[in-house]
């Protein structure tokens, strides 16, 4: 084969490799081809992973705050309202099912408190739904603080004007605005 032929063959191989890398989702290529819809989808996944984490990692908070100004309106809405309507409904269904299971279980098994009855369900569901909302609000406030732009900070200050904020959420936002932490990372089994 001539030198020119070899050169053409090499370039052909390079192009093929580049195409394969793109198709396989190589970061560099994907970064330069991501659509607005994909950007929104990925941001939603990152935020929900942090809102829902049990023992949150520093990475989960960092991933969320790295989204920056793009997610501030979404965080502001979460700080005001908590989980989405669908998430709230899913949690309500879960709590309702668990309460029914607990009522049946406690008919034949001991427990630390009075045995719950079916009539207690609404109270049980509401109590844990309120915690669910508070968790989302504190997590949203924590990400806003980590983003730290004037708009993000203004969102936190405005949230304190809400009359219906729960005491622990208000305390967390106040702590954040004074430079303290809101919801930092936890360890699965730390130290």
């Amino acid at each position: 084969m001539s030198a020119r032929g070899q050169l053409m063959k090499a370039w052909g191989c390079l192009v093929a490799v580049a195409v394969l890398a793109t198709l396989s989702g190589c970061d560099w290529f994907r970064h330069h081809t991501v659509t607005e819809a994909e950007k929104a989808t990925n941001a939603r996944r990152v935020l929900v992973a942090y809102f829902e984490c049990g023992e949150c990692t520093a990475n989960q908070l960092k991933n969320a705050s790295d989204l920056g100004e793009y997610v501030v309106p979404s965080l502001r809405a979460t700080l005001a309202q908590g989980p989405s309507n669908a998430r709230n409904e899913r949690m309500r269904q879960f709590l309702s099912l668990q309460h029914k299971r607990i009522v049946t279980y406690r008919q034949t098994h001991p427990g630390p408190g009075p045995a719950p009855i079916a009539d207690d369900e609404a109270r049980f569901v509401q109590a844990f739904l309120a915690n669910y909302k508070a968790q989302y609000q504190i997590r949203a406030a924590t990400v806003l603080a980590a983003i730290g732009t004037p708009d993000a900070r203004r969102s936190l200050e405005q949230a304190l004007q809400q009359q219906d904020l729960r005491a622990d959420v208000r305390a967390a936002i106040t702590r954040i605005l004074r430079g303290g932490r809101g919801d930092n990372r936890s360890g699965a089994t730390a130290n």
Binding site: C26, E36, G54
Partner: protein, 460 residues
């Protein structure tokens, strides 16, 4: 020239391959994994507890950025991808949008125009799955992925994996496991680590039993394969029987058919727990969390009951610190501290210390007690989205047989430290891989006879 070109090409290939392999996946993983036996699947499919799917968005504004803005967007589309060798049909029904209910076979399908309800009760979809008539395998996964789309944006995802298992098929004239004292005649799970007559390796085999079950022809263990039988059942402690000749098991499997391993199931173990509620926390929420843990651990055949004393504390709450012993504290029990700090954790050096920071959902205590019993997290991005040990998720209620084995058998479990089985030397503790702490296990090597943590059969 020829050599330089070749070098250049090689460098390019290596660089691009490295870049491609270094990427981290942000793709979703299964929200729920169910592991039924292939045998009788058609009959048990209806009992598989498939999670409901609410029609709607994951975030309050549906998605960050401008793509979801505007109140005029009031419908969603479900893009459903259903795959699996044994899959025949998927049925989707909606409670408040029955006109949208539909059925379809394997492949991609779309349900258009589902109502997006931003206030009030949104519709909920329920799945049911039919497998091919007379399907006899091979075992493998059936995947149903649902992508809720608002225009081009994915606003919520759900992925059900039905991981069909090739369980033991009972026939007559075989070796047998005979169960007695099986409370309520529960369909117990019999997990066997055995060398099969047809091969040399040690494999994990499962059978379901209410009393007596044929398990094929089991042969004595050999080499690193130490044969054993474990049994998991509601309202009974996990049973473990050594059937390995070389380690003094009795009875043991022989090369012949007709061996019988009798197992008398025992009442659940009782682990004592003190729950201290600080900072004006709610006793009712702590009661609810203990009840949840007890009910779910029982339903998932853990065989451990938490005898919890819940008490309000008025003093200053302990700081979350695993290097000092909090006050109050009682050795020999799990001590749980509900505190106003937002962290939750179980201390690695002392699994009897558990902190539950607020605002906690009903599953957090059960998750932390799982750590105390030696379990690791399923971290973000892993499968098993509905598992109690899943780190990211608030509607988690399942445990796997491999996890139940570890809670009962692993030497780092709080059962060992708290002498829940009496003298720790009277129980054959194992040092299992995929556990939160092995501090209490000493320097012995990891035990090869722990099942994989993902080992599981459904329904419980």
């Amino acid at each position: 020239m020829k050599q330089r070109l070749a070098n250049l090409l090689m460098l390019a290939v290596v660089a691009l391959a490295t870049a491609a392999s270094a990427q981290t996946s942000d793709q979703p993983t299964p929200t729920q994994v169910l592991s039924p036996c292939l045998t009788g699947l058609a009959e048990t499919a209806a009992d598989l507890p498939m999670d409901p799917i609410v029609v709607g968005c994951d975030t309050v504004d549906c998605c960050p950025g401008p793509e979801c803005a505007g109140d005029d967007k009031n419908t969603l589309d479900w893009v459903i991808d259903a795959q699996g060798t044994g899959l025949d049909q998927v049925n989707v029904s909606f409670d408040t949008a029955p006109e949208k209910s539909t059925s379809f076979g394997p492949g991609k399908n779309t349900i258009n125009g589902l109502p997006l309800v931003r206030t009030g009760t949104p519709p909920t979809g329920t799945l049911s799955v039919a497998t091919k008539s007379g399907w006899s395998g091979p075992a493998g996964p059936i995947d149903i992925k649902i992508d809720q789309k608002l225009g081009d944006v994915s606003v919520s995802e759900f992925w059900l994996r039905i991981d069909v298992q090739a369980c033991q098929v009972p026939t007559t004239g075989e070796d047998r496991v005979d169960l007695t004292n099986n409370t309520d005649n529960d369909s117990a799970i019999v997990l066997m680590s055995e060398r099969k007559s047809s091969g040399n390796g040690c494999e994990w085999d499962t059978a379901r039993a209410t009393d007596s079950v044929g398990v094929g022809n089991k042969v004595p263990g050999s080499g690193s394969c130490k044969s054993s039988v474990s049994v998991f059942s509601d309202d009974n402690a996990m049973a473990w029987v050594n059937t390995d000749t070389s380690t003094g098991g009795s009875p043991t499997w022989t090369p012949n058919q007709g061996d019988v391993v009798p197992i008398a199931l025992q009442p659940p173990l009782v682990e004592n727990v003190n729950v201290y509620v600080f900072g004006g926390g709610s006793l009712d929420l702590a009661y609810g969390a203990v009840d949840f843990a007890n009910e779910r651990f029982n339903a998932n055949n853990v065989g451990i009951q938490f005898n919890a004393v819940v008490a309000e504390q008025t003093g200053s709450e302990p700081s979350i610190d695993c290097l000092t012993t909090p006050n109050p504290y009682t050795e020999g029990r799990v001590n749980v501290y509900y505190v106003s700090d937002t962290n939750r954790l179980t201390c690695r050096p002392n699994p009897n210390v558990v902190f539950v920071g607020g605002p906690a959902d009903v599953t957090v205590l059960a998750h932390e007690l799982g750590h105390s019993l030696g379990l690791l997290d399923f971290g973000y991005g892993s499968s098993f989205g509905d598992n109690i040990m899943q780190d990211t998720g608030t509607t988690r209620d399942a445990l796997l047989d491999g996890q139940v084995f570890r809670m009962n058998m692993h030497c780092g479990s709080s059962l060992h430290r708290n002498k829940v089985r009496g003298d720790p030397d009277s129980w054959p503790w194992k040092k299992c891989l995929s556990t939160s702490s092995q501090t209490a296990c000493g320097t012995a090597p990891l035990d090869a006879n722990c099942p994989p943590v993902q080992q599981n059969v459904d329904p419980k």
